[in-house]
């Protein structure tokens, strides 16, 4: 059943565990008790109607949003804070600790969010230079290697404004990779792209998955989910409705909501 592009699922050592994650904006609950685990090397695709909370899950993982409640652990480390020694009070981390945890996650944004005043190379080298403290030459050598990996070596000196959307998103992927994160979060990475540029970004992501990069991908690209994901998680209305291997979930969904959503995206 494993597709040709999919590596075999590695032994389940949960790298990331999310338990009872809740997030409230004002009086609206956008995440309701979301729980799931991800093993090292696993590629998980989050699908669901817009507004179902997929993006918020990713943003909570990277602490761009503060969860209302719930626990996230990455390789055993609790994200965002600590229980005080008496075990009753939650102590949120300070800025430096949060920054240290954030860089363990790569984050690829829907709208790329490249730094427009820097060249592609500098965009990728900035993190290694400023947060890993690498000397400029080392950071740039690393950046060049990652640009090569996303097949943009020839464009290293161009500013984002001189690159196509697909190229910009690949630079953004290289920027995330250069921090050597433990996993990468993709937030609708192809939604802002012209249709003819989507495949070049998906190709890069596919190669990453094949190389064993752990990733969580929020996307509406169902064919990508089918080919690349080890597991597909379907969310609706702030909660996980069902999850499973892509073949099972796409061909035999268990819930009516899932069936309706899949029928809808297939008809597009």
């Amino acid at each position: 059943m494993v597709g040709p592009e999919r590596s075999s699922l590695p032994a389940p050592a949960p790298l990331l565990s999310i338990r009872n994650l809740c997030k409230r904006f004002g009086d609206r609950m956008v995440l309701k008790d979301v729980s799931f685990e991800i093993g090292a090397g696993e590629a998980v695709v989050l699908i669901g109607p817009s507004g179902s909370g997929k993006t918020t899950v990713l943003r909570c993982l990277n602490q761009l949003e503060t969860p209302t409640s719930g626990t996230i652990t990455l390789a055993g480390d609790v994200i965002g804070g600590n229980l005080a020694p008496d075990g009753t009070r939650w102590k949120p981390f300070g800025e430096a600790d949060i920054a240290g945890q954030r860089r363990r996650f790569g984050f690829v944004f829907q709208r790329f969010n490249l730094f427009p005043h820097l060249s592609a190379l500098q965009n990728v080298a900035l993190g290694p230079r400023l947060t890993l403290g690498l000397p400029k030459a080392t950071a740039e050598a690393r950046a060049a290697a990652h640009l090569e990996r996303v097949r943009l070596a020839d464009h290293r000196d161009k500013r984002p404004g001189q690159l196509s959307g697909g190229q910009q998103q690949r630079v953004a992927i290289a920027r995330a990779l250069a921090m050597e994160p433990e996993l990468i979060l993709f937030d609708e990475p192809t939604s802002a792209l012209d249709p003819e540029l989507v495949h070049e970004v998906l190709d890069v992501m596919r190669a990453l998955a094949r190389d064993g990069m752990t990733m969580i991908v929020v996307t509406h690209e169902m064919s990508f989910a089918r080919q690349v994901a080890h597991r597909v998680v379907f969310m609706a209305d702030g909660a996980i409705v069902e999850q499973g291997a892509p073949d099972a979930l796409f061909t035999a969904p268990q819930h009516e909501t899932t069936r309706r959503f899949l029928a809808h995206v297939r008809n597009r």
């Binding site: 990277n62 761009l64 920054a99 954030r102 944004f109 969010n113 900035l126 404004g161």
Partner: protein, 217 residues
């Protein structure tokens, strides 16, 4: 009524001296004000809350009181603190403090208006607040800030004339001295106006050149 051309001819080179003094003061106060204003603006954006509130209060004071009064406060206040820098330096300090307040607002506004995604992207690669401001937001704010900063510089040049009240021999004070000895107020004030107008026209021209040279992303 007739124009006393002899006074005019005599005044032109004398006033040129004063104009140079005005320009020196403006350049000095402009640089100090820019440094101070960027620092204050960054504190207002990313500092600890007490520091942020202090900057807020400072900016409110600078914007809420006349520059003339600020000049007097510095001129009479510094000696009370045991430092007598003289009228020239007092004037430079007063103008620097004033323009730092305005520039802090410009920096805060321009940096604050940069898209939120830039900060998030910088956070996602592990940058902390100070580094985000310095390496990501401030460089992008330079171009949108430039027109406002140029305006500020022009205002600063005109404001140097207020230093005449504490006897700094800049352009206006030089003119007043000539008026006192030769009594030709209209000729001299017209000449002063012309001097300021020319200086500011040149500055405006240069700043337009700079704006055009700045990269657009």
């Amino acid at each position: 009524m007739s124009i006393d051309w002899a006074v005019v001819a005599m005044a032109i080179p004398l006033l040129a001296q004063g104009a140079l003094t005005s320009l020196r003061i403006a350049a000095l106060a402009g640089l100090l004000g820019l440094a101070g204003g960027v620092a204050l603006g960054l504190i207002a954006l990313g500092g600890f809350t007490p520091a942020r509130l202090a900057v807020r209060a400072y900016v409110d004071f600078i914007r809420g009181t006349p520059l003339l009064i600020q000049i007097f406060i510095v001129f009479f206040g510094l000696p009370m603190l045991g430092w007598r820098p003289g009228e020239y330096l007092s004037g430079v300090i007063a103008l620097s403090l004033n323009s730092a307040g305005y520039i802090a607002e410009i920096v805060r506004g321009a940096v604050g208006s940069i898209e939120r995604g830039q900060t998030e992207a910088a956070q996602s690669i592990g940058l902390t607040r100070g580094k985000i401001l310095l390496h990501v937001l401030l460089p992008q704010a330079i171009r949108p800030m430039t027109p406002a900063l140029t305006n500020d510089l022009i205002t600063l040049v005109k404001n140097t004339s207020l230093l005449s009240v504490i006897s700094v021999y800049e352009l206006t004070r030089s003119g007043q001295a000539i008026i006192a000895s030769h009594f030709a107020p209209l000729e001299i004030f017209a000449l002063l106006a012309l001097y300021y107008y020319l200086i500011i026209s040149v500055l405006a021209y240069i700043s337009r050149l700079i704006e055009r040279k700045l990269p657009a992303w």
